[in-house]
Symmetry: C2
Subunit: 208 residues, 2 copies
DNA sequence: CTGGTAGGCGTAGCTTGTACGCCTACAGGT
DNA sequence: ACCTGTAGGCGTACAAGCTACGCCTACCAG
């Protein structure tokens, strides 16, 4: 029992997040995090087994910021409104650390935070009268949409709309008339409106 | 004009894909691909500028396998049916090379293949009477759902359902009663049914 | 005061990407 | 037929990254 560890997991996590937010995902190296903490490179290995474990810590920290309490079912908030709140919370948490998007959504960490989120979403779906298989499908559809939409948003997405919205006309726009026509339209929609618009479509489908 | 290049882009792409399919994404190194091609490591650099460019080539090849012709609007195929076909084609193409999932969906390559796919989807949406802003939102929602669902499917997804479905009871299942209850249900649903189920919800939402 | 345990870290090896520069095969002019 | 310039092909070498290993030392218990 000699000596207490001088670094706590929260310290680790926050140092790693600092590095990522400052230098991007590529800057997340063992050395960089160690330096940020003021210890030697190998000193880090006292606290994490792996680079992988370090990344898991980052992801867990980002997702841990999600508020997973059921949204106050106060006044006339429909279950659709509640699900919208949950989706937005997920999006906001990840959006606060955009560099971690590939990490957070690609890795299949058994994240406690996502389990809490899922539990709350399931509860809301239950109040909507959705049960059994349909509820599982609804949960996964919501998660899939959220993951995909966040990714499109932060990675530019391979949608082609961005390309044409950014540089209309220039490329072989003639081959894609509808895409070319949609470019300016897409440009005029805010990220928020897009996210909520798609979500609304999904929620409308859930209501019988 | 002396000498013709001895390696063609398709050869490059197929060698890289072979490596990925065999050794996984981590096995995709310049050396490995060069060896697969029977050239020296540096010989590769005659054909690609970068490791990045090599990855782009892989992605483009995988997505290039998507059939983007409009589905035969033969008999009584509704626009919903047609969109389902398009979504399934995207899922199938990526699913053929599961290791490339993080690559294909994470990178924001201005993929020609995805542009063709988007164009066809826009056309189908147009026949459904969806135009302007709503059509852009619908396209992105479909793409977001597809990307997210494919990712959940192939990366195990951080949904928590997998964990509880695989090892029911063991973890602190008491903290997540609904999740625990849903585990077995989720287990009984095939990947196909899940993908189509979620998609159906989305399509139902698109129909007024 | 002392001994053992566990934290802390320096060294070094392996893997990876890639800059650089030499060698050589080939087409075309003489 | 020969020479020459261009571009393909590749070997060497280095930087950066992860991490196995093992020494040193601070600390707590007795």
């Amino acid at each position: 029992m000699p000596r207490r560890p001088s670094l706590t997991p929260p310290q680790l996590a926050s140092a790693a997040l600092d590095v990522v937010d400052r230098d991007g995902l590529a800057g997340l190296t063992m050395r960089a995090v160690a330096t940020q903490l003021g210890v030697s490179t190998m000193g880090l290995y006292r606290y994490v087994k792996d680079r992988d474990e370090l990344e898991a810590l980052v992801v867990e920290t980002v997702l841990g910021e999600i508020d997973t309490d059921p949204p106050a079912p106060a006044q006339g908030a429909s279950w659709q409104d509640q699900l919208t709140v949950m989706a937005r919370r997920l999006r906001d948490a990840v959006g606060t650390h955009p560099s971690t998007v590939p990490l957070a959504l690609t890795r299949r960490y058994r994240s406690q935070a996502i389990m809490r989120w899922s539990e709350t979403v399931l509860a809301i779906l239950a109040t909507a009268g959705i049960h059994g298989e349909q509820r599982v499908i609804a949960l996964r559809a919501l998660l899939a949409y959220a993951i995909g939409a966040i990714q499109l948003e932060h990675l530019g997405g391979p949608s082609g709309l961005d390309a044409l919205a950014a540089a209309p006309g220039t490329p072989a726009a003639g081959d894609f008339p509808l895409l070319a026509e949609s470019g300016p339209v897409a440009n005029a929609i805010t990220r928020d409106a897009e996210f909520h618009g798609g979500l609304a479509v999904l929620l409308r489908g859930l209501a019988r």
